[in-house]
Assembly symmetry: C2
Homo-oligomer: 259 residues x 2
């Protein structure tokens, strides 16, 4: 077993500041907290170094082949953790390589645009739901919570380690991209869009998840406006629930239908 | 205009403790924070008293006909608020009258069982989504976050002021209830259930939202197990997303289909 590198308290303190977007961009690293998330990140090859609490090393040594494993006392683990109860394991890994939005759209027939979704929990939940229900790529517009923040990664349950993702600068860039890629923009609106029970999904599409406060900021002109029918007296759905509802209606037909 | 009652600092401090379940049950009251939620609560007749920040009284006096309005300086509003940024308005109102589970099921053809959902954000989101997508009643099993906690109410966006709701003691009580009511129990399972793309909803049902850590604890025996098909490599959906997906598939057919 290779001897693991020693980690100084100064470096640890710098890494603890990876909960700040500015520091993540400076160091080119992100924090990955907790067993489940670290397991996903290891499987996806997204881990650079591992930090485990005293006593838990054996469990991780095998899983983390080729990755340096640092053993830390509980109070140092606390320093690294964004959540109140310190985790058994925390990893750091490189920020994902920047990918251009047009390569995301070349790859993904079904994509989700985060159009200024501010709440990290919503952003993570949207990524998780999108990945589960068939979306193959993410675009993040201005004002969207940082896809590499610890809160977003936690709520995404690892899906962000797999989904191709790109930032876009705004509506202008998007409309240029769609002209080339041929994806149809799909904009959920609270009322007045096509009822999702009647809509056949276009062959390739970019579904818009609008901001919590202001809804979609991209122009719906030329796009397909869709509406999730709601019970009387209900004002709106949370953005993550609305996207889950639309994606559930648009699941591919079963490959093997029951008789 | 009636003179509003004076509120002492001692009473304010007691009310501030309404973020604790024990205190809510002792006083028979719940806290309702923020403009949107208070508006919903007023419309639903769920407000007993209103607390508004200095300068905001006029805006609320008219809307809160017959309800005492206390004007408080910002630091006292802070005391009452569960969130960090103090709200312009906070209300207190009586806890909902206890309703028996069998009356909820007599009223609701479509009901949701919160089967130990612990996270207040998830419980609120589930109530909001359920109300929007046609669910008419809620049952809360043991271990579920308190439906009257400030966090749950916030995440529910007011839907809990309208949805009939009842606590149930556990699987035994539930199965007795279902025998009488004739509702079919519907249990989402990660794999091996009927694909939701193929399932026709039973005439009346209780859909189970399982706990985040352990899934459904009620027995699926005799119930209908359903599975949301997921993309390869994705382990699971968040409980609120899974419920949104199932409810979206089960929306009533449009009353007025497009040609």
């Amino acid at each position: 077993m290779a001897t693991d590198p020693v980690i100084g308290r100064g470096r640890l303190k710098r890494l603890a500041r990876l909960d700040q977007g500015k520091v993540r961009r400076e160091l080119g690293l992100r924090l990955i907290e907790g067993k489940k998330l670290v397991d996903e990140a290891l499987a996806a090859g997204c881990v650079g170094e591992l930090f485990v609490r005293e006593g838990a090393k054996e469990a991780w040594q095998g899983r983390a082949a080729g990755v340096p494993v640092h053993v830390l006392p509980a109070h140092d683990m606390e320093l690294l953790c964004d959540v109140k109860t310190p985790q058994e394991v925390v990893a750091i890994g490189p920020l994902p390589e920047p990918v251009s939005a047009d390569s995301v759209l070349r790859f993904a027939e079904k994509a989700l645009l985060l159009d200024g979704v501010q709440d990290p929990g919503n952003v993570g939940a949207l990524a998780r739901t999108a990945a589960a229900l068939g979306v193959q790529g993410l675009l993040a517009g201005p004002g969207t919570a940082d896809l590499s923040s610890p809160k977003v990664l936690r709520a995404s349950a690892g899906s962000l380690f797999h989904l191709p993702q790109s930032a876009i600068s705004g509506p202008g860039e998007l409309s240029g991209l769609l002209d080339v890629s041929g994806h149809r923009l799909v904009v959920p609106v609270v009322t007045g869009g096509e009822d999702i029970r009647n809509v056949t999904p276009p062959p390739s599409w970019v579904l818009v998840a609008g901001s919590e406060a202001h809804g979609a900021r991209v122009s719906a002109e030329g796009g397909l406006k869709v509406t999730v029918p709601m019970a009387r007296g209900v004002e709106s759905l949370n953005v993550a629930a609305a996207v889950a509802a639309i994606l559930a209606r648009w699941l591919d037909p079963p490959t093997c239908a029951r008789p």
